[in-house]
Symmetry: C2
Subunit: 197 residues, 2 copies
């Protein structure tokens, strides 16, 4: 069985990462989202093992101590993390896994899983990013300034990724990421068996 | 100006390399064939600087001595070679260049131009390769055996390439190579300026 690829996509908030990843998943059958573990309560309709792995705070902290997460974060008092073992099982079964995380999480994944494919999504310009953030309509001058500052820090970290895709249009960005997947699957070092003909 | 990519495609005779490269060029506007220098006489309708650079034997050997060829070969008493300076000029102008050469030439290019993109085209199987070679109808048992032996040696050298594409169908092979070009153009180390936004 050919090993699946771990695809890590990051980009500053407002780049349209969610839209791009949603369309990418819908149009790429062999690619599936990573399922996170969390300590927050399930919301109505959420299914354990499908939307999240819902686990207790105690269990989560045990797993942290055991090095069981590829990356994790504490968000407003709830833990969210990527369970290493579950990811490895799915990669070994030939499944490509998409991980949509911030640069801080991604830099940790780079250390634990350097064979991952790290893709940074850029907005076409800072002016366009600002326009997209303003478009959501819920920003004050202060929160806008804070988000633009955070975006600049994320973009600086993006230089540590392997690939960069500019999200000029969602379709182009999806096509570029799909091309990166095809290319990475075509690497000779992942296709030893292809030469045994 | 963003630097163009040097794309080197090899594959055993009978793989359908010529058909794949022809279609790839027709469907990829930013990609152009490398123009070889040769000492053979121009045939009717051939234009200097378009089909080939036609040069004298003396000039060709001067260029060999000066290290002016990325690779060259003596084919039935005529020299053919890839002029390094011409390639560099076109790459610097942002043009992607396609070089369709055998593995011996490609291994030389790897040394002189390690930043090139080396793609090996495989037949789906040795049986299919034999069928394709037989299909040309001009093989004796002896020449067939010789060509199959040469194909095996070429395939063994293919493990030194970066990418492998199986030519199951021409369309799929072309799409895979185009994906490799898109992915390579998306590498962060080729897009420093994209982060200066």
């Amino acid at each position: 069985m050919k090993q699946g690829l771990l695809i890590v996509v990051s980009g500053p908030s407002g780049t349209g990462k969610g839209t791009v990843c949603g369309k990418l998943l819908a149009e790429t059958p062999q690619l599936a989202y990573s399922i996170s573990a969390t300590t927050r309560q399930p919301r109505e309709g959420e299914i354990d093992g499908e939307n999240y792995y819902f686990i207790s705070r105690e269990k989560f902290e045990e797993e942290i101590a055991a090095g069981g997460f590829l990356e994790y974060a504490d968000v407003y008092g709830n833990y969210y993390g990527t369970p290493l073992k579950k990811i490895e099982e799915r990669l070994n079964a030939g499944q490509d896994i998409l991980l949509e995380i911030d640069t801080q999480g991604a830099l940790n994944v780079m250390k634990k899983c350097p064979e991952g494919i790290f893709i940074f999504l850029l907005p076409p310009s800072m002016a366009e990013l600002e326009r997209r953030i303003r478009g959501r309509g819920s920003e004050t001058t202060e929160t806008l300034a804070r988000r633009m500052g955070a975006a600049k820090a994320e973009i600086a970290a993006g230089r540590k990724y392997t690939y960069v895709v500019v999200n000029t249009t969602v379709n182009m960005a999806v096509k570029n990421i799909q091309s990166i997947l095809i290319a990475e699957h075509s690497r000779v070092d992942r296709n030893d068996d292809a030469f045994d003909i």
